[in-house]
Symmetry: C4
Subunit: 496 residues, 4 copies
Amino acid sequence: MSDSKLIHGLEVAKHASRDSCWVVVNGHVYDVTEYLDKHPGGSQILLQYGGKDATSIYEPNHPKGTIEKGLPKDRHLGPVDPATVATPQKPQVTRDLDKTARIPLSHCVNLDDIEKAAERIISHSAWVYFRSGADDLRALANNRDDWKKVSLRPRVMRNVRRVDMRRTMLGTRYRLPFFIAPAARARLVHEDGELCIARGAARAGIPYCPSTYSTVPHDELARGHAATAAEVGDDTSELWFQLYVAHEKPRTLELIKTARDNGYKALVITVDSPVVGKREDDERYRAELATASGDDTVLTEWYRPQTSEDGPPLRGHHSSTLNWDDLPWIREAWGQHTGPVVLKGIQCAEDAALAYDHGVDAIYLSNHGGRQCDDAPSSIRTLLEIRRFYPHLLGKMDIFLDGWVRRGTDIIKALCLGATAVSLGRPFMYATAYGDEGVMKVIQLLSEEIETTMRNMGVTSLDQLNPSYVNTKILERELPDDLRFEAEWPAFKPKL
Amino acid sequence: MSDSKLIHGLEVAKHASRDSCWVVVNGHVYDVTEYLDKHPGGSQILLQYGGKDATSIYEPNHPKGTIEKGLPKDRHLGPVDPATVATPQKPQVTRDLDKTARIPLSHCVNLDDIEKAAERIISHSAWVYFRSGADDLRALANNRDDWKKVSLRPRVMRNVRRVDMRRTMLGTRYRLPFFIAPAARARLVHEDGELCIARGAARAGIPYCPSTYSTVPHDELARGHAATAAEVGDDTSELWFQLYVAHEKPRTLELIKTARDNGYKALVITVDSPVVGKREDDERYRAELATASGDDTVLTEWYRPQTSEDGPPLRGHHSSTLNWDDLPWIREAWGQHTGPVVLKGIQCAEDAALAYDHGVDAIYLSNHGGRQCDDAPSSIRTLLEIRRFYPHLLGKMDIFLDGWVRRGTDIIKALCLGATAVSLGRPFMYATAYGDEGVMKVIQLLSEEIETTMRNMGVTSLDQLNPSYVNTKILERELPDDLRFEAEWPAFKPKL
Amino acid sequence: MSDSKLIHGLEVAKHASRDSCWVVVNGHVYDVTEYLDKHPGGSQILLQYGGKDATSIYEPNHPKGTIEKGLPKDRHLGPVDPATVATPQKPQVTRDLDKTARIPLSHCVNLDDIEKAAERIISHSAWVYFRSGADDLRALANNRDDWKKVSLRPRVMRNVRRVDMRRTMLGTRYRLPFFIAPAARARLVHEDGELCIARGAARAGIPYCPSTYSTVPHDELARGHAATAAEVGDDTSELWFQLYVAHEKPRTLELIKTARDNGYKALVITVDSPVVGKREDDERYRAELATASGDDTVLTEWYRPQTSEDGPPLRGHHSSTLNWDDLPWIREAWGQHTGPVVLKGIQCAEDAALAYDHGVDAIYLSNHGGRQCDDAPSSIRTLLEIRRFYPHLLGKMDIFLDGWVRRGTDIIKALCLGATAVSLGRPFMYATAYGDEGVMKVIQLLSEEIETTMRNMGVTSLDQLNPSYVNTKILERELPDDLRFEAEWPAFKPKL
Amino acid sequence: MSDSKLIHGLEVAKHASRDSCWVVVNGHVYDVTEYLDKHPGGSQILLQYGGKDATSIYEPNHPKGTIEKGLPKDRHLGPVDPATVATPQKPQVTRDLDKTARIPLSHCVNLDDIEKAAERIISHSAWVYFRSGADDLRALANNRDDWKKVSLRPRVMRNVRRVDMRRTMLGTRYRLPFFIAPAARARLVHEDGELCIARGAARAGIPYCPSTYSTVPHDELARGHAATAAEVGDDTSELWFQLYVAHEKPRTLELIKTARDNGYKALVITVDSPVVGKREDDERYRAELATASGDDTVLTEWYRPQTSEDGPPLRGHHSSTLNWDDLPWIREAWGQHTGPVVLKGIQCAEDAALAYDHGVDAIYLSNHGGRQCDDAPSSIRTLLEIRRFYPHLLGKMDIFLDGWVRRGTDIIKALCLGATAVSLGRPFMYATAYGDEGVMKVIQLLSEEIETTMRNMGVTSLDQLNPSYVNTKILERELPDDLRFEAEWPAFKPKL
């Protein structure tokens, strides 16, 4: 191979606009001009790296092979002449801290401690990405505050010497009553990314449900998970597959195939994201970056509210058309006997009932960590709504929930009220900054808290829990009295 | 014209008291002695500039021609000798900031950001004027807090690819479900003042309802608005006319004629201001100014509570007699077919019902941005009162509301509960500090938030919204149980 | 008179203990040994000044002639030799501030401003005395917070040109619907003390009810009040007499005689103070003073809880036996036709009913400004209790109330719910630091606020107010459901 | 005795690991290797002092003779050569403060003041130990906040000259309606430790219930208590015995025998501690100590959730099997006529009823000062639960309660609602930092507050108190509506 094949850095630098945009990744030049508007992360970030080496930003945000597979071959322009480009920065996944500033993991005695510790070591952009929520963060605050509105009612004088924390989810009996929720982009905080989490789940015998946007490819995750299971001699843990239905059906089918081929046991379809929520910390951070790079356009043209049918969708590359009629073909692609199908993102009792009517195996109550619709209810509140308005659903299908679960007591509360199990996302992302040890620490802390709480409450098995162990009065006072609004408000006919 | 016609500055300076008060505006001398007690802004400010050049304070606070038209010709004393007065300061509409302190508009990702950004650049007196509220700011706080007491109930698994944000108000279908509320004195923050707002409304296809006290004359506003509409080729937007009924009927008739002659489409009569509220930040600021100018009188005579019938009204120059019997002559002056009549400032369900009985086309729920009666309810609370006690009013007439609307979610909540549309005042005043771009930014942000929220809630058209999409339980618990107090409290007969 | 009659300072200095305690006041030596345990302010403060000149502390805390009248003649030991004692400090009633730190009264636009301004100029001990409350200040906080739990319901489209703020209390029509509450020791903040207040009441045509512990004698107050009334040509205002029933009946009879002889129009008997509340700021301040003066005894003997019948009462020199059976002889001493009798300090609906049954002319709801029993209800809450459980009392007798009234809106709220009038204590004490001008400023501010609020609410006379003008739902949710506890809780029989 | 018998310090220093661990206490060497896992305070602290002189940490944490009695004789290795070990630090029970920083006890006018004063003088480890609570401190916060949700309803016009504060508990009439709650390790703050408290109780004529873990042996406590009673000539006070049922029955029987032999009058069995709560301040403090001593292990092996039956219990050395069937043998060991049996740690109405059914003499409502199960209800809330759901229990057995009692008003509230008496733990531990005087100060403050509150409420004897003296509406709104959950939620069958 002669040097004449190498592309000169100065040539690359010329292609830095919407008209022609080249980037260098791992020593190769790619023409992403036509891909600009298809990039899930937006065109802006691509334009920012137009004409430059983008390896440092590309690496922690994508599974290996993303660009090679995603971009047509004729847009692979060939290797860059390394002598003509600035040495790409190594991907920076943690802040540049001297060792003394790092809080020892042993000092973290609960999940909040781990979050605070992580804040000090992960990069600012990762921090902003993980912690951000929609609009005024009220859905986020609902998640956090509603747990506090439920109190416990401990029973005493019971033999609690032996405690069994096992719980059956989707037909399998796991070692603990929680699983690890989908959260994207773990390689922003640790170079092993989602692998740390998969290994932790395998060790602890609980399910892990990686995101569609896992920064470790799903096949690699499955292999890592299996290896650890073999190593510890316990195959209790399973992987589930979180699915963002894509705009294009073929892409969705491809994702389902990946899940099936790699032995993922359940298909967890996210239904709360027809558009990506307005996460303002993220937006503000990007606006500041743009200013710093000299790009400070406010309004390129006078804004017009959308009225045309075929305009580009606002934010995000998921399907905005996903509806109940799509379930049959998704189920068919997944296969009748592959495993259960779960809907993630149910936020009101009516949709819980609809899901049941459509025969899904389980529902997953969630407001997406407060990242989608602001002012959405917490999942524990939605669970109480189901109890009040559709009590017959309880026990008929599995009910999962997430949203600022931080304590063993939170988990006990959810189970008392009829949840099959809960899941946690952000705490595991923060813990991943400490690698495998961080992940195990989260599991250990929760396990110890569940065990302590069970004993303090006088129960020895999770199936002894029922509503008599909690006082939900404060939260119940905030539920609607009735769901039949049309009957309630006879004259209501909004005029348009 | 000989120099002997010019008035010497020393001569002007002699007239600086209640007995004789001259001011210089734009190079001309005016005798305002007899006008002192008629000045809507109070006599104190005139006396403060007595004997001096008042151009810098006059300019941003008045439409052009105010003094020429308002003062009898024989009080126009003629041009001042420019060599004998201090060069008038240029009107200062923004604070003297170095450029780095100015927050780029692109960094503002919501309306609160714009308010914070504006605080840094507009003059202190303007800031105090716009943000102030009555007494302890509790009505203001009600407005802000009550939105938070309503939560959303998002629906999932619906095709939300196409979203229609259009809304019909007063018979016209606009592009977005909000309009721009009346707020006076925009030239305090930008030299184009209300024109920026009118142009923004024209571009976005929404209504704008400038104040009686617009610092751009209403005819000029109408021309600017029409020009922009022509420029963008969209005549959806319309101007409405906010009317403060004046003490003197002829003045009121003159204002109505202005509205009619300049094509304003609706007459929005403010009914909540028989006296101007006690805005203490404003009062405190004026007291400090007075001290700084050596005038520190506390009590010129021992205060006696008002008992006489003909004493001067407390604060403000609006009618304190406006009542339901005035509606016929106002309607007649406006003309039967000129356009709809709206009452702005309804604060309880009973008055909503009375307004309907008196045949107005629409009511506008408002506590005047918390600037009038402290402890008044928020408009969303009044809307819930109407739902509870007069549900038959819903759908019979348009219902608008304002009061700390800052989010697309706020707008969706109001519409769910039966509001036709909402409006916003202060955010547009703050945005005007950034000129036309600021105004468009506010519209764009709200539009994107509405669109995102609609998709996240599973609706594609605003007429799909109904009370089942919100949980208002917290707010409902704070409503009166009953409006029939006399029946409720049998023994109540206050004795005097 | 020879010098040999003068007592030498060194002789005085020897008498500084419980065994023998002399003090110098205004140049005379007094033997207060036997008076130590009778001193209403406690023996500690006397001992602190034992053997010294006490003029500076005596003067602002006592009416003139207190010691001359109160101490037997044989304890008046004669004049001190002025050359042998340190020049007595002048009584310090305000802090030693340079003028610039003093906030101009004109900058105070509400009563809170006046409090803050007063804090900067009155002595620390006076500040602590006036602002302090019992225990954890929760009764104080109830007073402050409960006003905020009532919101207004303004009505619009009403002719409010003329506003009448007069109100009849105890049969007399005053100019404004409030009176000035008893509060002791005004000379701590101004040398004219209560006289400033009496003159202000006379000017404004409202009642003033000075404390038993007025630091201006009641006869002098009556003369000052009459003089001002004559001066302004308005005799609307009247003085009422606040009575602390004393331990000894003769002292009580003497006080009632003083009231009657000096033309006080009503007798306001305080019923909430059988013991003085635990005002901890005061106690802490005194403990710090004691330490500073070298006296730091914690426990002179091991504390034993009181069990004997004849032990000294805990704190305070009022009657601890006052009960319903005392009313007849008090009424007789006051005289059947002298004027009405009012009970001050009613804190629950049951006692309001008892007071009515005992034929008092009016009740005065109060928790003593939060200075007596902590966790006591606010008076507005007690008024709501009366409305709920004894509605037939309303209109049958006058009902007054006090407790953190700071706003015209507070007054309007109380009147809507059936109060005859309200009163204010602390604000007038703070204002007195600014003398007569301060007192008038408070009256003017309240008057303007009442007037503004009336207009904004659509009423022109206070007798138009009724419960439909307020929303009390939040406060009503906090009332007991029922007063019949015994019936409610069948098994309740506390065992002892 | 020749020097050859002395053990050399270098020899001791070799034994500093799990394999062999020696410590020096008061000049003697002990081999604690086999005791490591039996140490109630955990093995870590022993290992930390392995090979060293541990006197300074041992002394304030253990009753005298603990190690001599607890360790087999063959593990007493003999005296250390004092010249070969570092002089042991004197036990440090208070922080090293200069005198000026110490707040005089006379400045403390309430129990909060004493806590703040103690914080400044006791060692950090003691402070952390006493103030810490479980998890997020919400049970702790419930205790503190719920008192504030009850308000008082004072009655007036009653003769309150004589006040009787005596109260009968467990058949004995004490001088005040409270007793001193068990709290371990008083020698952490004062060298006389629990003796100060026992003497205070004896002087004041109230009961004291020392902890199983008293750092003064129970026999010595009994002697000290009796001596003081004799000295003051009042034998009203009694000692009660708090019992932690141990893992091994013989140890429990030994404790009961100690109680019986030393004349303890009641047996108070703690039932809320089958596992020790997660007190994170404590854990964090220990983690920091570990780091400082170079031991920073996070996970010695990968954590596995407990599933085996015979694993070591999580935290603490109390019985985790204690249940209703254990009561008979405990009662038998205690003796039928020795005295009453009390269950401490009842947290819900159902267990109160069960306790009654099992014939205990009294229940003691407590959430262990918020140190066990987070989100547990306050005891005043549990008392209200009993009133609502099992009112027939009231008056049938004594009901005690504790939990952030800090005020006379708190005590009055509890008694109004049916509590026999209350108790306080932490305040007495903080006061013990000031020795006997501190303890008496707490009793005096509470006594004066009770007395003042009684007079202010119009009662002269505690048996006059009933629910009509309190408004509990706010707290009642937060109680469950019903305890029959299974009936309420027909479909509830959690699936596992």
